[in-house]
Subunit: 147 residues, 2 copies
């Protein structure tokens, strides 16, 4: 199944983040079957509050496609987006969002609130739970090892 294939790529990026001591989150953006952007969490190693996987992937996809509007793109991310990343998805007009695990603390696809149901000028389709258990397990392992 294509969606799982792309989420596996996002999971691989999440594992790379974990190998560097970062919270394991990964993201890929796909258009017409081609990966046009990818990213992983690098908040600590990149010294920046913007270092979320989705932000890196969206910026890369914009550069690849030559503009801020990511029409026809699907974003795959292992964790439910935070407000910053949900806002970036709106700003980039990404039509479809697939995520793995829920984020009770910061998730903006329904966990804390649903930014995509608010009165903004773009409303992507949202699909949750793609390889959800695997995505959640990776995060749980990371936080268990921290203790």
């Amino acid at each position: 199944m294509d969606h799982e294939c792309y989420m596996r790529q996002a999971l691989e990026l999440a594992r790379q983040a974990m190998a560097e001591g970062e919270v394991p989150v990964g993201c890929v953006i796909v258009r017409d079957g081609v990966v046009v952007g990818q990213g992983r969490n690098r908040r600590e190693t990149g010294y920046t509050a913007l270092g979320h996987a989705e932000i890196e992937a969206i910026h890369q996809a914009c550069q690849t496609l030559g503009g801020w509007r990511l029409a026809g793109c699907s974003l795959y991310v292992t964790l439910e987006p935070c407000p910053m990343c949900a806002g970036a998805i709106i700003n980039a007009r990404i039509p479809a969002l697939y995520y793995g695990a829920k984020d009770d603390k910061a998730g903006c696809c329904g966990s804390v609130l649903n930014l995509f149901e608010e009165r903004f000028n773009h409303h992507p389709r949202i699909y949750s739970g793609i390889l959800g258990q695997e995505c959640a397990q990776l995060l749980q392992n990371f936080f268990l090892n921290l203790r």
Copy 2:
């Protein structure tokens, strides 16, 4: 008044954005009286959905200060932040936000919603209307000239 002095610097950055054909929004971040980050809108010229003034300023401030946590910083921006930028302000733990004009279409300090009153793990102090008329006038002039 210090707040107006910093907002004037943000307004100057907004004017620079306008000179390049961008929606005029500017931002500075200050710690202990020193500007540690600045940015202006460059969504079109930078080919990126992330090209908002606040995002550029926050990234620069993180690089200047050597980490993702912008403790002790104040952010000055000419326009009420959108969800992405409000989320970035939360992620960077910026304690104080000063903005100029309201944004009825995307503003997240009360216009569309107030992200800072939601159940996230950081709640900055918000001050609105700093040189508000001047900030709003600049935007109005830009959009009038577009027609």
